[in-house]
Symmetry: C2
Subunit: 231 residues, 2 copies
Amino acid sequence: MCSVVNQPANATGRAPRGGNGRAGREPYDLDAVLDIAVRAFNEFGYEATSMGVLAERLGTSKSAIYYHVTGKEDLLRRALERALGGLEGILAEPGAVDGSPAERLRFVLRGAVRVLADDLPYVTLLLRLRGNTELEREALARRRAFDRAVAELVDEARVEGTLRADIDARTAVRLLFGMINSIVEWYRPGGALTPDQLADDVITVAFEGLRVHSAGDAAAASSLATRVSTS
Amino acid sequence: MCSVVNQPANATGRAPRGGNGRAGREPYDLDAVLDIAVRAFNEFGYEATSMGVLAERLGTSKSAIYYHVTGKEDLLRRALERALGGLEGILAEPGAVDGSPAERLRFVLRGAVRVLADDLPYVTLLLRLRGNTELEREALARRRAFDRAVAELVDEARVEGTLRADIDARTAVRLLFGMINSIVEWYRPGGALTPDQLADDVITVAFEGLRVHSAGDAAAASSLATRVSTS
């Protein structure tokens, strides 16, 4: 599956990934085909994107794309697999399995932000699915399973006493994902805000909130201490 | 503008608002026409929704709709005005003008959640605009102006020292709106979660975070007090 299709000089200008290095040819491998397909799906919509449009964007023929994939749905399947596989992979890492529920929750949310930042167009595609086909419904079911795993961590952390219980767990999870999923709408990889800093910011807002109540803020802390000592 | 169009027995089943009460007739007023138009725009997309489809949904004729509005763009203009007017109205209220920046910010965010919950389909329409026409671009400019007003409150609260300064203000505003705007994707008015409770939850997560560190949590508070006293 690593054979290449040709990219003429007047194509997208995007550096292709991999290839066989044949002299005078700018090759595209499957990953590059997938990248361009995902961008087109996000721009025009999956239904409205034809294999002809993809071939045009790649500066190649439809048959060259069919060398890599069996068709448009195969491209969608592989793209969704990349987004979902990335998210599901987080849950299998030691940080998501070992430690207190709150620690595991932080690890998983941080991982989700990383997957979003690293594979932004792929996760965008996943988040915009409507469930029009069996493939889309299967992907949505896997996305819901990931959300449920996070919801269970929230539940466990509430039982443990580290997460506040005065907000309904489902509402908390939805607000968390609202914040995290919004990243695909405004984050631009390669800018001043690195994926790590972005993940830190999300974790800080989600767990600590924007109000100053850190140990470094003496006024807020003494006000808190006063309330505790008089309660 | 309060004249009515007729709704036959086989129409949507939705209770019409207002009307002139002529016996044997189920009337639609402008608000009801707008409601149905907005729902259709959200379901099929604005471009794909014809006046014919709207007439069919209303169980009336296109000319009956033209009695209320000059055309499809007029419906869109009025729908967007309702969403934007609601948001802009918050900024003019005393709670958005008087008090500390943090208090005003809470008031505005709470108001935004209320507008979203009360006029969910209208705000959904606004949030999904792509800026394809002059009308859409004007609406997006007004939405950005609202976002900027919130960003200025965040800035002022940071200067005041009540909001944490270790997160970039633009990132903070985007995460806040990510959380708030996500409400249109999952909130169902009329359920157990009231708009007021929803607003409380959003304000709590945004300002306090999900981690337990309230005055009621003695362990967290004493740990904080210890850190403050030894720093």
